[in-house]
């Protein structure tokens, strides 16, 4: 029984990391209907900024994280202003291609820095031993991931429900033309969404870097690995991203724990969530919490 509970808990904490990484996708999609294929690169930028500040400049890691959150927000804002604003009103495929190009550009730029191909670690700032309770163990970075996810969830819930900007963002997501006719600045909303996505990406980069080290390939791959999370939860649902992330994390762990011994070579943890995803999409094509778009002609 404790084995099962351990798998559930591990799945939950890993799922929180996925959720954190997935939030950026959802924020951008929610506001602008754009899927940002450069999310993994944003995550990498966030992690490398923390590393550079804390190791090269000897800065306190928490201060480095705050600066990284701000810098990636600025990067998101800049990207929206320079690359995406000229594409407002253009076919969605053009915008998607721009984000793919942006991913290449950012990755290439990182390769020009000393971080390109290496493996790095943040200076040790958390105990290695982990937290044990009734035979269940979780690491401190994993606890931090859960904490960050809860904070972001609370902040975004408040933002979208209570703040004028958040409500404007929802209005833009719902109907751009109607929102514009009511005086909502769509451009401002888009820029804000990209900046917020940058913040969540930096937080995710910090957590992933703490858990498994800082390597460009590994960080970028997290950006792609959370695709099933956002599709399962619904591309435009923030609670969906969190629940999708946790669901995928738990499914991965249960499959690794119970199915791997039955399959030569194992590796079912990477496949089983996709099988479940396909089944869910069969019945819920817009994901568990995604908005159903019905077009009447």
């Amino acid at each position: 029984m404790s084995y099962f509970v351990q798998l559930l808990v591990s799945g939950l904490v890993v799922g929180s990391i996925y959720a954190l990484a997935a939030l950026g996708f959802v924020l951008i999609y929610k506001a602008s209907r754009v899927i940002n294929f450069a999310q993994g690169e944003f995550i990498a930028v966030g992690a490398f900024v923390v590393y550079a500040l804390s190791v090269y400049l000897g800065m306190n890691i928490w201060l480095a994280l705050v600066i990284s959150l701000l810098l990636t927000a600025v990067l998101g804002f800049f990207v929206e202003r320079v690359f995406l604003r000229p594409l407002v009103g253009q076919p969605i495929i053009s915008v998607i291609m721009v984000t793919i190009g942006l991913a290449s550009l950012l990755e290439g730029a990182i390769h020009l820095t000393p971080f390109g191909g290496g493996n790095f670690s943040f200076p040790s700032f958390l105990p290695q031993k982990g937290i044990e309770f009734a035979g269940i163990s979780v690491s401190y970075p994993q606890v931090l991931a859960v904490f960050f996810t809860l904070i972001f969830l609370a902040v975004f819930a408040w933002f979208f429900q209570r703040s004028t900007l958040g409500i404007a963002m929802r209005a833009v997501a719902d109907d751009q033309m109607a929102a514009m006719s009511l005086g909502v600045s769509v451009e401002k909303v888009f820029a804000l969404a990209w900046a917020a996505a940058g913040i969540t990406a930096a937080a995710a980069g910090f957590i992933v870097g703490t858990v498994s080290g800082i390597n460009l390939g590994g960080l970028v791959s997290i950006g792609l690995r959370v695709f099933p999370v956002v599709i399962l939860g619904g591309l435009d649902s923030i609670p969906g991203a969190v629940i999708g992330g946790i669901a995928i994390g738990i499914l991965e762990n249960l499959a690794t724990g119970y199915l791997d011994p039955l399959v030569p070579g194992g590796g079912t943890g990477g496949v089983f969530p996709f099988v479940v995803l396909l089944l869910v999409l069969w019945f819920k094509p817009y994901g568990l919490f995604g908005t159903e778009e019905i077009e009447r002609v």
Binding site: H111, D260, G269, G270
Partner: protein, 392 residues
């Protein structure tokens, strides 16, 4: 007009002074997956090439080394290889397991010697195995050497293999199973593991199965996370691995959790006080490489591959043979087949023959102690590998 004529004459004179130019291409992952190894490997190739030209180790030839980033993409590797064929290069430096296995029929068809960074035994096993040369012992031999060490340390030990989900990872599995039987140790499970954020489920299962050692044929990233998780869970499991699983990268990623990790490789460690390690440090310093390059085990790996190719080209040239085009390819191949020399970059000499396409036949076991890998054996050869793989 007069100025142009002078320039042309000067260029001609310079080319005569330098002798014939021979191109040597390396194609590997400077960006993309595994670039944490490829980046340093490429620098090793570049630097040894410069050094050989500057120190006159090329028999009067000018070797132009070209490193190409194929992004770990076999199609790019093939394009680069085909370009080298068309240009008349005599030998090619490759990289990945997938790229090498895929190119084997073409390598055989064109008769171009090929030295990969992948130590997959399938690269030099039939069919189409006449032109591929491994710089050091294969993954299979590395893993069997680890098992031999474990069998000595803990007779009858229960072992799990944690391998990369790719031909690279699976390469030694069958040989390892046969070797384990011979050694009287039990391989409880073979688990394919890609880069993940948490290995608690796998580790708990291993612990429930009584696993005492995990042997990795993987890259440092996932190994580091698994080693850290094992430490956090307080499991009494030892960790060991083949060349690409360990090294300074693992120490950097796993920190204290890597303490006690047993690792086998044919290369010297950066901080070692040996002739080879000193040479690598001096060369890196000479070409102003940063400290992370000097600390990487992939830097001397690239140097060794370049050294082998350049030495074979030099010997073919000094034997009066052509060193470019079809004839050059065959001459360099013949030189490789008889190549015995010690560039000092690994723990043993390079010895090739018609029936032996493994360069350095020796390796050492090292253990992570106090934040560095310390040799715990003298250079040795696996006793069992030839028996289980070739049946002799």
């Amino acid at each position: 007009m007069r100025k142009t004529l002078v320039t042309v004459m000067a260029a001609l004179a310079a080319s005569l002074a330098f002798g014939q130019t021979v191109h040597l291409m390396w194609s590997g992952a400077i960006t993309g997956p595994t670039s944490d190894a490829g980046k340093y490997y490429a620098q090793g190739v570049e630097d040894y090439c410069k050094y050989a030209n500057e120190e006159g180790l090329t028999g009067g030839l000018k070797i132009v080394c070209e490193v190409r980033d194929d992004q770990y993409n076999n199609a790019n590797t093939q394009r680069n290889f085909e370009e080298a064929i068309e240009r008349g290069d005599p030998v090619f430096l490759g990289y990945s397991t997938g790229g090498t296995l895929q190119l084997k029929p073409l390598i055989e068809e064109v008769g171009m010697s090929y030295i990969p960074a992948s130590y997959h035994i399938g690269n030099i096993d039939p069919p189409n195995n006449n032109y591929v040369f491994l710089p050091i012992v294969s993954y299979s031999e590395q893993v069997i050497a680890v098992l031999e060490y474990i069998a000595k340390e803990k007779p009858g030990a229960k072992v799990a293999l944690a391998v990369h989900p790719s031909p690279f990872g699976r390469a030694p599995v069958e040989d390892a199973k046969k070797a384990a039987k011979e050694l009287g140790i039990e391989i409880v499970e073979v688990q394919e593991m890609s880069k993940g954020l948490d290995y608690t489920a796998t580790l708990k299962r291993f612990a429930n199965e009584g696993v005492e050692y995990i042997v990795y044929q993987n890259v440092a990233g996932p190994v580091a996370t698994m080693v850290k998780d094992a430490k956090r869970l307080g499991l009494n499991i030892k960790h060991a691995g083949a060349h690409y699983a360990g090294g300074p990268d693992l120490l950097r990623l796993a920190g204290d959790a890597a303490e006690g990790f047993i690792w086998v490789t044919s290369y010297f460690m950066p901080g070692e006080n040996t002739k080879g390690a000193t040479f690598v440090r001096e060369l890196g310093t000479r070409y102003k490489r940063p400290s992370d390059t000097l600390e990487s085990v992939h830097y001397p790996s690239g140097m060794l591959a370049a050294a082998i190719a350049i030495e074979a080209i030099r010997r073919a040239h000094e034997a009066g043979k052509p060193v470019t085009g079809d004839a050059g390819r065959e001459a360099v191949h013949q030189a490789l087949l008889g190549l015995t020399f010690d560039p000092g970059l690994a723990v043993g000499p390079v010895t090739y023959s018609k029936s032996d396409h493994v360069g350095v036949d020796m390796l050492r076991a090292l253990r992570a102690e106090g934040g560095k890998f310390v040799p715990i054996t003298e250079p040795f050869q696996s006793k069992l590998f030839r028996k289980v793989h070739y049946g002799k």
